[in-house]
Symmetry: C2
Amino acid sequence: MAQSKKNEFTQEDIWLADVAKALSHPARVRILKILNDMSTCMVGNLVNKLPLAQATVSQHLKELKRVGLIHGEIEGPKICYCVNSKALSKAKNALDNLFSKMGCC
Amino acid sequence: MAQSKKNEFTQEDIWLADVAKALSHPARVRILKILNDMSTCMVGNLVNKLPLAQATVSQHLKELKRVGLIHGEIEGPKICYCVNSKALSKAKNALDNLFSKMGCC
DNA sequence: ATCGTTCATCGTAAATATACGATAAAGGAG
DNA sequence: CTCCTTTATCGTATATTTACGATGAACGAT
């Protein structure tokens, strides 16, 4: 709880900012929504639903993977992406906590 | 609910990504936490608590203002920043919705 | 072994973000 | 008015992000 004065940021704040960064592009928001809605989740499917080239979609998937919000499983030549519900709920809790209070001057 | 196929992103997704972008830096996470915890919220106070120059803090405040998460009120020569609880709860709801389901393959 | 499919990675160009010192603007104090 | 304080903005350097085509790697099918 105790925040440092003028020092570096806490790991918690850095992590939360990192998760937010992963959500900070419409394509990645959309990808998460699609993965929430579908059980089939090949990359090709996502590319068809996004106004972006395949390489770019792959790059966005990498960013979501980086923070652990999704992961992919190899199925033959295809890769099935799905959300990591554990990471999602951890992020949800942290964000809820950030948004909980409302002290205003 | 119905998502377009290959078209541009929805305004909802763009907005949500924009809010996430505002949270995507440790300094801005910290600023929100400080504003949640304190009632006194001058910029000088924030500068003292962050490992950043005044100009940089001002820039981060501008970004939080841009998406409406905070706003400032002029009090003489000082400016009192506070969180916009309405915007915070709207963002919280949208993020909760994004994180709610957990279909996995 | 040679395709065709699927996806990641490389290379790269353009745009955006981050940081800081310097400066401007606005208001209170003397 | 002239200072001093407080905060925003400007100018700028550096780093990161975003996007795409091209290429590479992995696999199933023929």
